[in-house]
């Protein structure tokens, strides 16, 4: 129980730091005053929208990762590794260039990616899912870059910032979309919490305990697609958050797999922390948040593989 409090507490601390920190550090009193004053530009114009997006997208990615890992019973099969974030990115880029609704584009992109991977990997064994996902993800990422290189300058500039995973242009409207999808998804997860808790027990046991397997798969994949699309819309294709969140959450809080809520909190913590670091380094060099997340997340994947290797020996 004590461990369960740790994650929310950590998130609150990070939220505080994110609002207080930056080029102008706000002490506690100044921060509270700023929050109370709706006209305060620093808080309401700059930091709060950015924070809202970071928390929302982080939670969405964390949840999507936990759900995907549970459905496939494979800690390596997360939206960022099997190409869903890249697919959402491609969908977003196409929608941007063709002046179509952006969230719909991102959602179609990630849906298409998951369908392709699922169809290709069917019947080929457990590894296939991840491997095909890597291939589809690489293709989508490259195609996205190519599209944006070809884009007319006006859109290209904004898209380039988004592509690198930057929250610099965060606005409340986008935050609103992310939170809408997050809350809807969260409600569904809460409704089906008991069944979702069975994910890691295997298809047979799940069926035996009264779960309609095909409906469960559609539910989970739908949630994962929507959550991935929403977060990619807001912060661009950011890797590693979805992959790291659930295992890290379980390590910190001891929660039982699939640990969907702890993963959401962990994802939010990671993204807020990465964004804070990016902002603090900004006077020296402008690093997009996605880059910072890569430098945090890649070593974790390395550590995971290393430990997995030690255990296999």
């Amino acid at each position: 129980m004590r461990r369960a409090v740790f994650l929310p507490a950590l998130l609150l601390v990070l939220v505080w730091l994110a609002l207080a920190g930056g080029r102008n550090w706000l002490g506690p009193v100044a921060l509270v005053q700023g929050l109370l004053d709706r006209q305060d530009f620093l808080i309401y114009g700059l930091r709060l929208p950015r924070l809202l997006i970071a928390v929302g997208a982080g939670m969405a990615l964390g949840m999507a990762g936990a759900l995907m890992q549970g459905l496939t019973r494979n800690p390596l099969a997360t939206p960022d590794i099997i190409g869903l974030t890249q697919g959402a990115g491609l969908g977003f880029a196409i929608a941007l260039l063709m002046d179509l609704p952006l969230l719909a584009g991102a959602a179609c992109g990630s849906a298409l990616a998951v369908v392709c991977v699922a169809l290709l990997a069917q019947g080929r064994g457990a590894l296939a899912f991840v491997l095909f996902g890597i291939g589809i993800g690489a293709t989508a990422a490259a195609a996205t870059t190519v599209l944006l290189v070809l884009a007319p300058d006006a859109k290209a500039a904004r898209a380039m910032i988004w592509l690198s995973g930057s929250l610099a242009r965060a606005d409340l409207a986008t935050a609103g979309w992310v939170w809408l999808v997050l809350l809807a998804g969260g409600a569904l997860v809460a409704l089906r919490a008991h069944r979702l808790g069975l994910l890691w027990l295997g298809d047979d046991v799940m069926a035996s305990l009264g779960v309609d397997l095909s409906r469960m798969r559609i539910l989970v994949l739908g949630l994962v697609t929507a959550l991935t699309a929403a977060s990619t819309l807001a912060v661009g294709p950011i890797g590693f958050v979805a992959f790291v969140a659930a295992p890290l959450a379980r390590a910190i809080s001891g929660a039982e797999a699939p640990a969907i809520w702890p993963a959401a909190l962990t994802g939010a913590c990671l993204l807020v922390a990465a964004d804070l670091m990016a902002r603090l380094i900004a006077p020296v060099a402008v690093f997009p948040t996605g880059l910072v997340m890569g430098v945090i997340g890649a070593p974790y994947l390395i550590f995971f593989l290393w430990r997995d290797r030690q255990e296999a020996r």
Binding site: L191, G202, V205, A207
Partner: protein
């Protein structure tokens, strides 16, 4: 078609992995008591059990469960009527024994509600029956293979269903635990009026504990009936290609198989 049968299988056909496992198979399992399904490996015993559990859909034919079509039940209704323990339960990420057993209550739980008193009672009862009450807080990774098998059994018991289907429940257990598990199942059948169907590979144990036996080979029903009548040298030869004697054991007067080769 017996109206008081637990399961009635009509014309079951199923093709899996490129092989025709069942082709127009028909049979029945009686209500009440312990029913064993025996036969050589790879003959489709597990597959039949999965069809009975509703986990595997046959290509054609139907299964009648307690007088009504099995396919007509919703997933939840089915889960509240029968529990199924597969042959190799997966390695789940670490959780406590009580945590895993509590999963067995899922078919009874409503959204947003915590575990009710009835849920807690069922879990306690299941832990007690499998002798795991002291280990309730232990992590699964700290248990032996046999203990973990008992946890899975406790999960099936916590589901509190009138029918329990078990696929080789004695697979990882040493002899002592095999016997205690089978004795437990015997007790559940006698005292709590559960119907238990199990796939067993050990013919002598099946003969000792089961009321009714079904012998399968290559998707064909070789023999069916009370255990004492079904285990004969002829049926052993038909099932396993084995020349054997069948005698009564001195303690329980149950059939024991003595291979002659």
């Amino acid at each position: 078609m017996m109206t008081n049968s637990l399961f009635s299988i009509e014309n079951l056909s199923l093709r899996l992995g490129g092989r025709q496992i069942y082709d127009g198979f028909s049979g029945a399992l009686p209500n009440g008591g312990l029913t064993g399904i025996v036969g050589p490996n790879g003959c489709g015993k597990s597959t039949l059990l999965r069809c009975l559990a509703g986990v595997q859909q046959p290509d054609s034919g139907r299964i009648v469960f307690q007088g009504g079509p099995l396919a007509g039940l919703s997933a939840v209704e089915r889960a509240q009527s029968m529990a199924y323990l597969p042959q190799n339960p997966p390695l789940v990420p670490d959780m406590s024994v009580a945590g895993l057993v509590a999963k067995g209550r899922t078919p009874w739980r409503k959204a947003f509600r915590p575990l009710s008193d009835a849920d807690h009672d069922a879990i306690e009862s299941a832990l007690l029956a499998t002798g795991l009450s002291d280990l309730r807080a232990t992590r699964l990774s700290a248990l032996s293979g046999g203990q973990r098998q008992r946890v899975w059994l406790a999960l099936a018991l916590a589901q509190d269903t009138p029918v329990i289907l078990l696929d080789e429940p004695t697979a990882f257990l040493d002899l002592q635990h095999q016997l205690s598990l089978l004795r437990l199942l015997r007790q559940l059948a006698d005292e709590r009026q559960r119907s238990i169907v199990m796939v067993l590979h050990e013919l002598t144990l099946a003969g000792r504990f089961c009321d009714h036996l079904l012998g399968l080979r290559d998707g064909q029903l070789i023999c069916a009936g009370p255990a004492e009548q079904v285990i004969t040298p002829d049926t052993v030869a038909a099932l396993y290609d084995l020349q054997a004697e069948v005698a009564r054991d001195p303690v329980f007067q149950k059939p024991v198989v003595y291979p002659r080769e």
